[in-house]
Amino acid sequence: MAVQKRAQETLRSLRVAAWLGWQIESNWTDPFLFAIYSIAKPIAGTLILVFMYVVVARGGLGNPLFPYIFVGNAFYIYVGAVLMGVSWAVIDDREHYGMLKYMYTAPLNIYAYLLGRGVAKTAIATIAVAITLLFGVAVLGVRIPPGEVDWAMLVAAIALGLSAIAFLGILLAGVTLITARHNYYIGEGVAGALYLLCGAVFPLDVLPRGLAAVGRALPLTYWLEALRRALLGGGGSQAIGALSNGALLGILAGSTATLAVLSVLFYRWAERLAHRKGLLDMQTMY
């Protein structure tokens, strides 16, 4: 009975937070402008890479490195969106709307609430990723024949990868909870570091040995490799190229599970600390 009640509470928290997140994200303008807003940023980010490539390759997009860069960059849209969607909820609710203290007085599951707040951004990111991939196939000639796509691996990789990013978001929400200033930059900073370290837009082999080793310890490295294998038929990084598809997904699943446990434990600790220090209703006006 108690378990059923908790499950209902969790589902309700998730649903209401997702709805709230969607309203906050979208109701500031009309749907047309919102659609442009949601698409322009990621497409522009992709085109920066395309032009960087074109200006050096002088018109040649046939190099096998280009699809590697393109697919990694397209899916990386998820990282910024989900990380920020989950961890930003703390800043929004505490600093901007002054509502975080009420969240703690309401009968809700805070993890479900935070994950729910990330749902809207995840949905928007899904559209942006799909449009970016379509743009790549239709305009830039990236070869992703639907018949050759390993759909099972793609679905598994997306599910595991998004879970890993969401739990990383919970961890960052914990950091945000106990940080007075600069919490605005935490999500962006972590997304920037991961962009560099997990081989999103270049093979890990290009990085100095120390940084490449850090990259190999990150779940997102295996996520992006799995996505590339599912869509393009192969990765591109020698560093993890020898792993079989099963081993790749196994490492991704294991590291996601570890991250889930660590993030929840860390958030609980941060929550206790914030409670003790009176940070739950802190407004820095910074």
């Binding site: 322009a40 050096v56 860069i69």
Partner: protein
Amino acid sequence: MRRRTEWRIFWRTVVGRAYPRVIGLQRERSWVFFDVALPLLQVTAFVYIYRAIQAPPEFTGFVVLGGAMSAYWLNVLWSMASQLYWEKETGNLQLYIVAPTSRMAILLGMALGGIFATTVRALGVIAVGTLIFRVPMTVTSVPALLAVFVLTLVALYGLGMLMSSLFLLWGREAWHLANLLQEPVFLLSGFYFPVKALGFAVALVASFIPITLGLDAMRQLLFPQMMEGLKFLPVGYELAALSVLGIVFLALAHQALRFFEDLARREGRLTLRGQ
């Protein structure tokens, strides 16, 4: 006598509004990590992309310079254009309105303080980036480089002052609009590659954002050989265009501030919070 007092108040306002931005650097030193190290992550990622596709080493310099100049664009977006929105949210805007001073002086103070703080950050990115990646630079003309840099900043912050008056009307739209103007402008202004790659027509339209011309001219002056076939316009033309943009944006900012303040006052949006 009255005119002298007005000028005195004007300059005191400029100094007063610039003061927190300058002194903030001393009081909150953690900016060194957040404002230099974090932008360097993006710069480093782009450097490794160029290395992965075996681009000439000068392209590393293009990226480091673009990364440093991106600090100014972000400062214009978040600390100039959206500033009056933040002030509205924190309840300061009405104090600005009732203060016996010019709103242009407030914007000018914000701009000067922002330029100082951002220059320290941009120099940090350039110094660390140049040292780590050993960027091969040859300065062909120091006076021309300084002129391009100063005129770029005048025009850019003039645009920021113009945008801040537009943003005066908005609530959450201001935040989203500033957010929207990041990556698309990084693309259009050629922050990480020469803007000529976009084609003449697109580069010409993008030239309304002063940093487009500024970056192209600075790259020509710092990497003359590599930019030989990649330059958009000769440096002289870009200097002239930047001068015109600076004057036009400042004049428009002055007019727009009056117009939008009046409109916001009549529509009751000056004190509207939490939109």
